[in-house]
């Protein structure tokens, strides 16, 4: 099965609404990264987390290593938030494992 499972796989939001994305891990994740892949294909770093929470503007992320999950909250969604969100779990070695992504479409 998937070592890093992202949900939902796709999501549609209206501008100004809030939502949460989730990653569940079946591996012993010690770090989590969240990325946004924009419609042009570029991968932008959003958060890098050890267990705990971080906030940046309208985005907030949490990582609970004991319960093996991470969340990304989007507040007041904007059109430019559209794209595919990936989480990637590190387990202390050199490699990380990516989830399959959540495709987000924000509409006016």
């Amino acid at each position: 099965g998937d070592k890093v499972k992202q949900s939902p796989s796709a999501l549609s939001l209206q501008e100004g609404t809030n939502s949460a994305l989730r990653c569940n891990f079946s591996i012993a994740a010690t770090t989590v990264q969240w990325f946004l892949q924009n419609p042009r294909g570029s991968l932008m770093n959003l958060f890098y987390l050890v267990p705990g929470t971080k906030e940046n503007g309208r985005l907030k992320s949490a990582f609970d290593s004991k319960e093996s999950y991470s969340t990304l909250h989007i507040r007041d969604a904007q059109l430019e938030d559209s794209g595919t969100y990936f989480c990637a779990a590190g387990t202390g070695g050199y490699k990380v494992v990516f989830g399959s992504g959540t495709r987000l479409l924000v509409s006016p």
Binding site: S42, G92, V96, S100
Partner: protein, 113 residues
Amino acid sequence: EAAVTQSPRNKVAVTGGKVTLSCNQTNNHNNMYWYRQDTGHGLRLIHYSYGAGSTEKGDIPDGYKASRPSQENFSLILELATPSQTSVYFCASGGLGGRGEQYFGPGTRLTVL
């Protein structure tokens, strides 16, 4: 600003031909990575390196070689390209041993005919 660059950005190759994808980073990171991204998949690790002169197999290394001649440069080599290697390839760099945050280049779109 520190950056990861890739060349070429687009490449069309013929089956059986040799393809070299290049990556350069100015982050001064020890670790570099090559991934491929296909529809329906996240990013899958092909090869990685933890320093100049080192290359390690990732999760899907078959059909690919890698070369790390310097701290800044990491190449992915397809000796005999096949249509199944048509994909988007991303290079990344990361620091702090295995716990470092990874930073990605813009990607190379490879089509093998």
